[in-house]
């Protein structure tokens, strides 16, 4: 069949000549390379000895280190306050001498006069809720931000410093030489905000019924900024959307809280016997042996007693954390506490831990810790074995925020303890997401301030896999559903966003402060792009190996977007420059359509079209010595219903002259020849997935490689020789490419699926 096909396609290929415009009265200008498949050299930095072209750390790769010892005191009460003294030992592993150090003061975003409060434009609204009117125009704003007591060197000598919004420059008496360390201390305090009314990432929630507070505390201490080979000192202020960039280091932290509070934090608890009761110690030992269900360390009854018992003294909780980029803690007299151990394989175990006020029950005691455990396992499978000794999920109203080993999560039943499926799945999903952030960006430590998608998008992608895996492990969570109702990940769920007006879209490769719709931009679209890459473009095996390579290469290091892009290509031998350019650097969308479909027949009668073609080259039929056949299309008057390929004389001669009887039996004799035009109104190039349905209702699925678009971005034609008549052609039959207009995906055209859905819905009413 191959040989015969070759012969016929001569005619098809040459028809392209007709399409060319021969009126060259005006000479066209030239153009730059705008091919969708051109390499990304113009967007990417030149590889060097810090970061290689392969996407791995180079032989001179370095990163700075910041070690902290801190004494922290939380003053609970109507106007809660945190006091701290910290000593930072900064190691300059860079080849450069540093004249000054930059420290981040994230709390300053809450200062009365913070410019971030004026970062958006505003207008007088025609309507105001009274509540907003009062808080906007009548109330004193909250008195937030760091008060810096002093900054001293290791000898206790005051250092000069300069505060610019959320960043503080420490002026060094002499430059910090490459390879040297510098130690200095800061004394500070700040007023803790209510995170529920202020919608902040950190703060307290007030429970008016019992008058207590639950604290989830983070970015609460002056933190070292990142200095590296791509940015120098990080100099992008904290404006609220772009999150954090932090160096790794070791933390020794003592936290003093009222003695009726329990507390958990980043790091290993050093004085468990001092702060745990005997009963708690016993239960903790049991929890270490429990691999299938959580063991309660502080029961609801005990927590309810603690919230009624006023504190007499204080208690100090001591932690040690190695190789973390940050430190967070949660504390309250309201917390119930449970834990279980998790077997991560290869002799590695880690504790799954939950802290929640009684307001979270009965949902939290049932799901939180098992979700933490399942998340650790899923993520470990797709990246690297979870390296920390625990992961804690803390329940805080409206929160979804992550720190090393600890995160805050929403999901609260109503006052009677009832909850909807929406609340349950929302809670399970947010726990998977925030625990997952331990991998991205806590360990694969990308710069969140610059690139939201590198942690949010990549994490949301793995979250999708982990959600599906959790439901397989605990089918009970599904109730009557067949699969976990993931909100983001499937191609069809990003279609709405990708088809929005271009006025409100930004490329993924944008700073989080500057995008129009951060949710779909930094979470949904990159997660979906990676899912499409895995399922449709690369295949699971190639993708998973490359993705693991990226995770392991950059574990406990600072990758850039290019390090990710390069590694995915380098470890898979799939050139993906076209994919990154389209999905990450542009706001183009997928729209591929079935255009004209022509049916042909083969004949020995010369056609006018063939004669015209030859005459363009100054030839006639007589000039061609080899036997030829001709294609006539359906519309032609010579088209006959039941012509047989084997009866066309020149072909018959050719077959008898070149093949034995036995060989001829093996040959295919297609009856129909289709020329199908696929059009591409969308800017993105994608593999062309087509399902052909034949008259006998059998189907055939063909995936044409994305490269079909490389010479013509607007349309491409394909010839299908077939024994059976084609009755239907469908592009992207499984909706796996995020094609934004599926009404043009079929031949013959089918009804708009939205209209079908509407009609079916209406029938059911």
């Amino acid at each position: 069949m191959k040989k015969i096909l070759l012969l016929f396609t001569i005619a098809f290929i040459s028809t392209i000549a007709f399409a060319q415009d021969d009126s060259l009265s005006m000479r066209e200008g030239g153009h730059f390379n705008e091919n969708k498949f051109r390499q990304l050299y113009d967007e990417w930095a030149t590889p060097n000895s810090y970061r290689t072209a392969a996407g791995s750390p180079g032989h001179e790769y370095y990163q700075q280190q910041a070690d902290y010892t801190m004494d922290i005191t939380l003053l609970d009460g109507e106007n809660p306050k945190i006091l701290g003294e910290e000593t930072i030992t900064y190691t300059n592993n860079s080849p450069d001498d540093l004249a000054y150090l930059w420290v981040q003061l994230d709390q300053n975003i809450r200062e009365k006069n913070s410019p971030s409060k004026e970062k958006n434009g505003s207008g007088v609204s025609p309507i105001f809720r009274a509540e907003s009117f009062v808080s906007d125009y009548m109330k004193d704003p909250f008195d937030g931000g760091f008060n810096i007591g002093w900054v001293k060197d290791a000898q206790g000598k005051a250092l000069t410093y300069n505060i610019n919004q959320t960043m503080m420059r420490i002026d060094l008496p002499t430059p910090l030489k490459s390879g040297m360390q510098y130690t200095f201390s800061i004394k500070w305090d700040y007023n803790v905000n209510n995170h529920v009314t202020n919608r902040a990432r950190s703060g307290y929630e007030y429970f008016p019924k019992d008058g207590n507070r639950a604290y989830v505390i983070a970015q609460f201490y002056p933190r070292m900024a990142v200095y590296n080979d791509v940015e120098g000192w990080q100099n992008y202020q904290f404006w609220g959307n772009g999150e954090f960039a932090l160096p790794f280091g070791n933390f020794e932290v003592n936290i003093t809280v009222p003695d009726n509070f329990v507390l958990d934090a980043t790091g290993k608890l050093q004085n468990r016997k001092e702060v745990f009761s005997k009963t708690m110690m016993k239960r903790y030992e049991l929890a270490k042996k429990s691999f299938d269900k959580p063991v309660i360390i502080v029961t609801q009854e005990e927590a309810e007693l603690a919230e009624k018992t006023p504190a007499k003294k204080t208690k100090t909780w001591k932690f040690l954390a190695n190789n973390v980029r940050d430190f967070g803690f949660a504390t309250s007299n309201k917390f119930i506490w449970d834990m279980m151990n998790v077997d991560l394989g290869g002799g590695k175990t880690s504790m799954a831990v939950s802290l929640y006020p009684k307001e979270g029950n009965p949902l939290w005691e049932e799901y939180s810790t098992i979700v933490v455990a399942s998340t650790m396992k899923s993520y470990s499978k797709h990246t690297f074995t979870y390296p920390y000794h625990k992961a804690i999920s803390v329940h805080a109203k409206n929160q979804g925020m992550e720190y090393p080993m600890i995160c805050w999560n929403y999901g609260r039943p109503d006052e009677d303890g009832n909850y909807t499926d929406r609340t349950k799945f929302g809670m399970v999903s947010v726990i998977i997401h925030e625990v997952g952030h331990n991998f991205f960006p806590m360990i694969v430590n990308s710069d969140e301030r610059q690139w939201g998608w590198m942690d949010e998008g990549i994490n949301t992608f793995v979250q999708y896999l982990a959600e599906q895996e959790f439901a397989k492990e605990y089918p009970k969570v599904l109730g009557e559903l067949k699969k976990y109702p993931s909100r983001r990940g499937l191609a069809k769920d990003i279609v709405n966003y990708m088809s929005d007006s271009q006025d409100f879209l930004s490329p993924i490769m944008s700073n989080p402060e500057n995008v129009y719709q951060l949710g779909p931009n930094a979470y949904g679209k990159p997660a979906t792009a990676l899912n499409i890459l895995r399922e449709t473009v690369m295949g699971k095996e190639l993708f998973d190996y490359a993705f693991k390579t990226y995770s392991q290469r950059w574990m406990f290091k600072h990758p850039t977007p290019e390090d990710f892009f390069r590694t995915m290509e380098d470890a898979s031998a799939v050139d993906l420059d076209w994919f990154w350019r389209g999905w990450f650097y542009s706001t183009d969308y997928v729209d591929i359509a079935v255009g004209k479909v022509k049916k042909y027949q083969v004949t020995d009668k010369p056609t006018q079209a063939a004669k015209d073609l030859l005459s363009q080259y100054g030839m006639t039929l007589k000039d061609i010595k080899d036997p030829v056949v001709f294609m006539i299309d359906e519309e032609s008057k010579d088209f006959t219903k039941d012509s047989k390929v084997e009866d066309v004389k020149p072909l018959k001669d050719y077959l008898f002259d070149n093949f034995t009887e036995e060989e001829r039996q093996q040959l295919n004799t297609p009856k129909y020849f289709y020329e199908i035009e696929f059009e591409k109104p969308g800017g993105l190039v994608m593999p062309l997935i087509v399902e052909y349905t034949y008259a006998d209702n059998t189907t055939e699925r063909v995936t044409y490689p994305v490269q079909v678009w490389r010479k013509n971005d607007a349309s491409v034609r394909k010839v299908i020789p077939s024994n059976k008549e084609i009755i239907k052609i469908q592009v992207d039959p499984d909706l796996e490419t995020a094609d934004i207009d599926v009404t043009n995906n079929s031949f013959p055209r089918e009804k708009d699926p939205d209209i079908i859905e509407f009609e079916e819905f209406k029938k059911k009413q």
Partner: protein
């Protein structure tokens, strides 16, 4: 962190409180004009939590928008709410959209409405102010598809409607 809702930053929004994790609220509406059947089909995708909150605020307490606790009352107040928030005019004449029904999908409620008009369409005006009475920062994205045209519009408390002329 997690963004619970689709968030959108647009420079012309009304005054809102200062927040470090700034959230904006977005619903999405699709209007399909089916020329052969002279019908307009309207799909509204809105966050169930927000919809529940506004129905409870406006029409009394206790509505639970959940497949397990759905009542005729909810349908009635929802229909009432939609009549005040979604308005359509064709050829400068006010039309009443028929409420067909709703279904729940993950965190969203999908609302189906329709309208049939056997007349030559010259202009369409569509107003959508859903949830702007709950959040001043609410944005409603509306996409129109039909007569060979696909266009989207961003509506909010200031810009309440759009008009298409054929």
């Amino acid at each position: 962190m997690i963004l619970k809702r689709v968030s959108i930053v647009v420079v012309f929004f009304a005054l809102v409180n200062f927040q470090s994790t700034h959230k904006y609220y977005v619903s999405s509406t699709k209007i399909i004009y089916n020329e052969s059947q002279h019908s307009f089909q309207v799909f509204i995708d809105v966050f169930t939590d927000d919809l529940q909150a506004i129905l409870n605020k406006r029409y009394g307490k206790g509505f639970q928008l959940d497949p397990d606790s759905d009542t005729k009352d909810i349908e009635n107040v929802l229909e009432r709410y939609l009549k005040t928030k979604c308005k359509m005019s064709i050829n400068d004449e006010k039309m009443v959209l028929d409420y067909v029904g709703k279904k729940y999908d993950r965190e969203s409620t999908l609302i189906y409405m329709q309208f049939i008009l056997d007349e030559k369409i010259q202009t369409i005006t569509f107003e959508n102010t859903i949830l702007t009475d709950l959040f001043e920062e609410q944005k409603n994205i509306v996409q129109f598809k039909g007569k060979g045209l696909t266009k989207s519009y961003l509506l909010d408390i200031d810009k309440k409607h759009f008009e298409i002329k054929f």
